[in-house]
Amino acid sequence: MSKTAKRNLIIASVLIVLIAGAIAAYVLFSEKPVEGQKTIAVDVVHKDGTTKTYTIKTIEEYLRGALEQENLIKGTESEFGLFLETVDGETVDGTNQEWWCLTQDGQSLMTGVDATPIKDGDHYEITFTVGW
């Protein structure tokens, strides 16, 4: 085997190891959905500062399903899942840099509504936010 071919093989092997490591990290550390009945609480904080709290009983495994079950959200499908536009009847205006911020117990979520698994007792906030 030539020197170049050997080098290419080593570099390709390193990439394959990195991919395997990433897959293993995802399998081991990503949050998994929970089956069965669960009750979650969702606070919707509107533009005028008022908060409406919804208690949702659901068998859905992801937040999107639970919120859609209550007709709480509407939006457009994006490359990263549903982009929230209307929550609890209020619609954001993207041209004014308005958007819905999704948090769990005040902590930013790293996933959108599609990829956020829910479990019994979870508490989420969806807050009308201005500014990127």
């Binding site: 290419n8 990195l18 991919i19 990433a22 995802y26 550390f29 490359e79 902590q107 930013s108 790293m110």
Partner: protein
């Protein structure tokens, strides 16, 4: 023909044609990103950065900086934008450091590695915002996207690097050895 602007007798500019070509490459990076934004994590930006770096060397950073600013102006200067300030230049840096390489497979692997590491690199601002747990959960949540990114970068670079380089060399380069 070479055109220069002068300041106190000192030549401070790139040749006009090269400057135009670099601006065009930055605009192409941006246009391709917008055009392909409906496909998750499949884009030609990495490929354009590799081609620009191979053809223009360190001056490719001008195109990359233009692309980053166009992204910010269009989509807003959010937290993600600050990660762009090092994520894309890092690819240009890697290509410039490995520039002697002539194997398309190696460039495809470089693009793939960049796609795979994209989420991890973008998680750095979250480390400063919310600590290691936040950065780690950001990275883990995005791993499926990173893997798609990795595979698509590999395929796109493997297929398009040679033909794209050929086209850009023909139309955008000054074809003057002294200008490279």
């Amino acid at each position: 023909m070479r055109s220069h602007s002068r300041s106190g007798g000192r030549n401070i500019s790139l040749p006009a044609r090269k400057l135009t070509a670099l601006a065009l490459m930055g605009a192409l990076m941006f246009a391709s990103q917008v055009a392909m934004s409906f496909i998750p994590n499949v884009h030609l930006v990495g490929l354009f950065i590799i081609v620009t770096s191979l053809l223009f060397g360190w001056e490719a950073f001008y195109s990359v900086i233009l692309f980053i600013f166009l992204e910010g102006i269009t989509y807003g200067f959010g937290l993600w934008w600050f990660s762009y300030l090092y994520v894309w230049p890092l690819l240009a840096l890697a290509v410039n450091l490995l520039r002697k390489n002539e194997s398309v497979i190696i460039w495809a692997i470089v693009a793939a590695a960049h796609g795979l590491c994209f989420g991890a690199l973008c998680s750095i601002p979250y480390f400063f915002m919310g600590g290691s747990a936040m950065a780690f959960s950001y990275w883990v949540a995005g791993i499926p996207f990173d893997i798609v990114h990795c595979i698509s970068n590999f395929a796109v670079t493997l297929i398009l690097l040679k033909p794209l380089s050929k086209v850009i060399k023909r139309f955008a380069l000054p074809l003057n050895g002294s200008e490279r």
